[in-house]
Amino acid sequence: MSAKTVRWIEEPKMGMFERMYLPAIAQGIATTVRHILKPQVKTEGYPEQEPKLPANYRGVHRLNRDDEGRVRCVACYMCATACPAHCIDIVAAPAPEGWKDREKYPETFVIDELRCIYCGMCEEACPVDAIELTTLYDLTGLSREEMIFDKEKLLSVWDQTTKAGTDPVRTKGGHYGPAAELPSGS
């Protein structure tokens, strides 16, 4: 580095006002006292005060039900394929008699909530809007087994969140989305 590129900077000279220090200290104390008298606290008192989360918050999953209370899922495995954490395990089975609108349904549908990274890609991948992430954020358990959610548990999350109103039904009832509406036989 040549001497020409070096730039010496002198400290700005303090005037008499700054040299007295006391006015500046008084200003500082005034600022401090203003904060004491009017604390601008932004902290949420969590256990007493629940946070208001946006509707697109990515919390615990739920398996949606249709109008008849059946699981919407058609066991297409698209969520399990999309999942970067490989936390979704589905066992498909032929749909029970009387379920005219689909061939398959999930016999078991298990999400390991500990492996899940809550990216929401399952929700994006689902063709029938059967899996959604809710605003449930306080997910706790005493054992690893407890944190592996099966189909009943995931359906109960739906019941719980729709009843509580925290995550209302987002898809139209009875409407299975574009995949279910493909003309049959094509």
Binding site: K4, E10, G15, M16, R19, M20, L22, T32, I36
Partner: protein
Amino acid sequence: MTDFDLTYTLILMVVVFATIMGSVAYLTFAERKISAWVQDRVGPNRVGPWGLLQVAADGLKFFLKEDIIPKHVDRVFYFLAPGVGVATALLAFSIVPFGPSTPPPAPVAVNSERSLDTAVMLHEAEMKAYREQTTFALAPGLDIGILFAFAIGSLVVYGIILGGWSSNSKYSLLGSLRSSAQIISYEIPLGMSVLGIFLFAGSVNLEKILDYQIHHGWFILYQPLGFLLFMVSVYAECNRLPFDLPEAEQELVGGFHTEYGAMKLGLMLMVDYIHMITTSFFMAIIFFGGWHFPGLSNIDGTWGLVVKFLVLGAKVLFFLLLYLVVRWTIPRFKFDQLMALAWQVMIPLAIVNLLCVMIVKEYQLTPWILTVTSVVIFLAAAVISTREKLTVIQRPVTVAHAG
């Protein structure tokens, strides 16, 4: 009851000790709460209503923690240091008149009007009346008064230096070295700032200084500069924030108490707070008239007692809160800056201030002159410091032309 009464003194000691410890505890709480508000946080609010029982939790924590003693410490002094610190800090409080006080009678004076016998008789009558008063101080009427507090207060630093040295750790030693650098800086202006007041009151006894103010007005009116110097020195003595060099968490881990844990750390931390209380009393009593307040000091009986306690308490509380507020206002000095401040600014100012007091006393001038001189000295110091060539090395200024 200035007659030495063991029971009364013991009860008073226990009450004072308990009050100081309680105040220290709630001072730490106030510190945490005010720190939180200044920084727009909530602060401790979990234990008890508004977190008021937090102090109990903190104290209990100190007692229940595992007491780890590092193998490399000098065990004797390591154990001694917190004791020395707290004991001396508490001892300094013993001379503080923490309630309504009466000045001790003047010594026997013989002059042309009265003979020795009458003088002695008068003095004994005065002493008898004085002894029958209830006093609110552990050592009332102590003649060396505030000098005792200065002497004992400086011993607190021994606790810090012993602790830092015996810890056998670099951070601790740095902290205690800084403490010794600090004490040779602030001790002198601390003593000199109040010399003018001793000249006025004619005594170093706190009750007498207080009594002088009741008749002649608070010393803050005549000695604002003295108060400023005293306050700055006292902040340094308490290791409070603009001058908390020995602790300096950001630089020295924990400073002198890095190697301490459990209750020994608790004692180390307590020292500062006890000191804060004592020095707040000094500021209130020496410069702000103690329990005296215009219009509130003539009430007799129990109510008068209560009012006086409240007035003094309010003044002390103000200074305690000021300690906490200043902590979050002024950044820490480096220790060369502290020494420069003490030796180049505060000591000369204190000397000039003292000189003015001496002139006023010698020529019997009105003390209000000192109010003017204090301001003039202060402004003059500011002017002089702006004219000073502070940078010795003049560096060449070359501006690079970019591109």
